[in-house]
Each structure stands twice: as C-alpha cells, then as structure tokens.
Amino acid sequence: MEASSTAAAGGPRPNLSRGRTPRSVGESIIKALLFVAALISIATTVGIVVSLLAETIEFFSQVGILEYLLGTKWTPLAGGDQKSFGVLPLISGTLYLTALGLIVAVPLGLGSAIYLAEYASPRARRIIKPVLELLAGIPTIVLGYFALTFITPVVLQGIFGIEVLIFNALSAGLALGVLILPVVATLADDALRSVPSSLREGAFGLGASKPQVVLRVVFPAALSGIVAALVLAASRAIGETVIVLVAGGASANLGIDPRESFQNMAAFIAQTARGDIAAQSVEFLTIFAVGTTLFVMTLILNAISIRFVRRFQQVYE
C-alpha cells in the first residue's frame, strides 16, 4: 500500500492517526441519523404516555378511583343521576370478547400450524400459507360488517337458529377469532418449524409414531414460541376496535350471555371520541382513563408473556 517502501526496517513511524476522510464524515452523519430515528420513537412513546396520564389524573380528580375500578355500571354518557363510572363491565366485556375470539382461533390456528409444519406436503404448504396470510390482510372493518350482515343473520339466526340480538358478542367474537386466526397459525407454524429436525429424527429413531413425535417432542419444544403467538393474538383481540364497534353493540355488559350486546374498551373510546362531547368535560376525560386502563392491561399481558417465553425458551444451536 505504502508508496515509500523505505519504511521496511525501523524507518519513519507509519501514520495510524485518525484523519478526517469523506468516509468518516459520512459514517458520523449516518450514526446521527440513526440515533435521531431511535430518539423519535422513544419520544413518541413518552409523549403518548404523558398525555394519557395527564388527562387520566384530571379524570380521577373528578371521579373516585375506587368508584372507577370497582363500580359495576358504566354509563358515563348518560345524563344526571344515571351517570356511573364503574369500568368493570368494560374490562369484563373486553376479556369476554377476547376469550370468545381465542376459543375460535386457538384450536383452528394451532391445528393449521401443526398441519402446515408437520404434515403438509411442500405443495399444499405453498398454497395454504399465502391464503392464511391473505386472511391476515383483510381490513377489520370488512370483518366487522361481515359479522353484522352475514354471521349474525345468516349463520347464527339462520343456520343455527340462535336468538341473538342484532349486535351481539357471539358474532363479534367469531369475527375476532377470524381476525387472530392467521396470527396464531403463522407464528405457531414458525415456532414449530424452528424446532431442529434432529429432535424429530431422535424421536422417530426410538420408534415413536408421527403423532407421538409431534405432540410429545416438537410441540413441547416449540412451546415458548407458541405461547408468544397466543399472547400476541390476545393483545390484538383486546385492542380490536372496529369489529366490536360494528358488530358487538354499544352497551357495557357485565354478563356472560353471548347473545347480548357487549362493548370493549377500544370500541367505547372510538364511539365516545366520535360523539358530541365538550373538551375537558368528564365524558371527554373518560376516554383517557379507559385508554390508560387498556394500556396497562396489554402491558401486563406482554410482561407475563416475556417472562414465560424466557422461562421456557430453549436455545438450539
């Protein structure tokens, strides 16, 4: 490299000092840009939390925190004496609708994942996997109207003859299940396929049959990834707005009858924010209180799943 080859034996010291070259300048610009990108996303998160908390604190200066957390009647938009700020019906409605969605999506999703990862021929896989991913791309508003105009009148009332209300939890829950089914199926499929084939061979080599290999070796080995898939699906269902808004109805319901209408927290926020309410009124502030509650719920769920995944994760070479 050096033009002067006189430096061979004890010649002048080679210049190793850091110089300003076009390359080093470019690198520091890139580094700064990347740092700004990271900073903006952090700042956004902090900003959201701060604005949520500020309005939430304002809300709790007008409504008692115990009344909010323990009350069983949620009618913040009603007039006069009918006003009540018990959030339990919203929380239970959220969990109930999520549970209905999971009841649909977990067996179907895990079933398709096991089929895709362990049984499907490469050709079947090439067809089914993109179809599942297409299902994940359906806008939720389409699913919501599908629930309202097809599942409720045709499937539930027509085929099964169930006397459901026009807005009901059952059809919203089924639509939620369709929404999160591809999440469960594709992520669980990834988890199953990441189990090294040496484990399958080991089990086959011991005389295990295919179902034994799948259920006793591959599935447990993929458990942490499967749980992560289920938690992500549950988070998706908990925060889902449009399907519940369109098909689930608008009454915060503490019951468990799936034929009645239910509301979840996200749908309440959407409905209220659209409505004709005065800024800084207590009705306006409920949006932020419920938003904070939803935020805390998904945070807890994610924290639990991270702990679980770390606890059961197997690191394969």
Binding site: R200, E201, A203, G207, A208, A221
Partner: protein, 313 residues
Amino acid sequence: MKQVTERPESSSEARSAAGAGPGPAGTQAHNGRTTGPGTAPAATGAATTKPSVDTPPVFEIEKLTVRYGGKLAVHDVSFDITEKRITALIGASGCGKSTFIRSLNRMNDLIPSATVEGSVRYHGQNLYASEVDAVQVRKRIGMVFQKPNPFPKSIYDNIAFGPRVLGMDGNMDEMVERALRRGALWDEVKDRLKTNAFGMSGGQQQRLCIARALATDPDVLLMDEPASALDPISTGHIEDLMFELKERYSIVIVTHNMQQAARVSDMTAFFTVVVDEASGHRHGEVVEYDETEKVFTNPSDERTEAYVTGRVG
C-alpha cells in the same frame, strides 16, 4: 473417568487422531491396527475374537440402491451384518455411509424423495416389504446420531421417552436406572435426574442419547458418527461403552476416524465415491467388506489400501 484410566491407550490415540489431517492418518492407522484391536480383548474378554462363520447374520443386504429424488446415492450394496458384533462403515465424505445406515432402520422414509431398491432382510424378514411398519422396525433397531440430540426435557424424561411411547410395562424408575447404567452415565447423573438434559456436557449428552436408545431394549444399535462432535476423552467413553454393549447388541457404526474403526470394530465395510463421467454426479458403492484386521492390514482392493493408509481421502 474410571474407564479412561483402564484403557489409556484408546483415549490418547483418539486425542492424536482428533487433530490429525488426512496425511498422518495413514501411519496412525497402523498404530490403530497394532494397539487397538490387539489390546481390546484385555478389556472385554473373549467377545472380540474373530467372528466365526456360523454366527447368524442380523442383516442380509442384497442389491440395495438408494436414490434421492431420482439421483443415485448408494448403488448395489450387498453384504451380511453379523449378530452381536461391531460393524464399522468407513469411507470418504459423500460415499453414502450415512444413507446406507439410515436405510437399515428405514430412517430414509422421513425424506420424501428417497427411494429404496433391493432388500434389507432383518432376521430373515425384508424391512422394505409392503406390510412392514417402519415404526415397528425402529422399535427394534435404535439409532444414535452424529450430533447429540437430547430432547429439551429432564434427563429422566429423555430416557423414559422411548418406554413411554412404546407403552412398555414395568417400573419406570428401574428402567431409567438400568438404561443409564448401560449407558455408563448413572453415577454422573443419578443426583440430578430431574434437571434439563441441555445442562450436560456434549459427551454426556451423547451417552444420554445412547442410553435413551437402549431404554427401549433394541436388538440393533445404529450409530452415525457418534463421536465426531466429541472431545477425545468423551470419545474414549463412547468406545469403551461400545465394547460393553456388543455383548448384548449388534452395533453398526459409521465413522470418519479410521483409528476408531480399527479399535472398536470386528468387521469393516469400505465405501467409496464413484463419479459418473458423463454427468459428474457422485454416488457411493461398497468396495470391500471383511474382518477389520484384514481390511486394515491386507486389503484386497487397492482403493481400500489407498484409503486406510491415508494416501486418499
């Protein structure tokens, strides 16, 4: 550790073999011949005497040809594998040793594109007959793989897996202890049976996999390069274990390590790579199958001689 001190020559040889390239392997193969099988009877007694002609075969392989997706992998292999002996399969990479050993318990069934012609008779019964269930075959013919592959479960559950899926009757604790003792692992792990098998060393994991295969009481143990991922001391453990196991089981072992083949085996099959001149496609064939001592000292084919003396491969 105890077993290593009993047969120090085996582990020291293995140590030198581990670092040896193809060049010096030739001279060491001679060492292996003189010290390996020669000292083995001292440790295991009469079991290492030459296989006599009247020992019944456990496998009779006839014109076995395996293809992957139509491409030839192993061509026209025929020989008998003797019962309660260690049979080594040697040869350069890509010569079909692993494909061949996997056809002995129908593990190749797991590869959808694999096709098998010819026959493998196991105690007289063709494994590839249409009425034969591969699951039943693998219950009797266990397999140990190149890389230790314990399940992400406890040591106990790893051993108990085979007996459980086969629905074996009996006291599970006793079965687990017996398998771990046969796998020469009991003393090291008896106080931590409930801990995850991933916490063991590589050598322990491989002995666990051997013990796991023994727990179902198979008739044959197939080992596909069982020591290639292990250090010399662990390799010594595995080889000692094989000497003990051949009193009960017929063992077939694939190995790249010629010293190991010379030390542990009674019979040796030498595979070679055949290149199709027209297409350039490579497949494996068996060149020579004989008693290990003969293969290593007085091979009848010059390709075998070139390989065992280290001039090729």
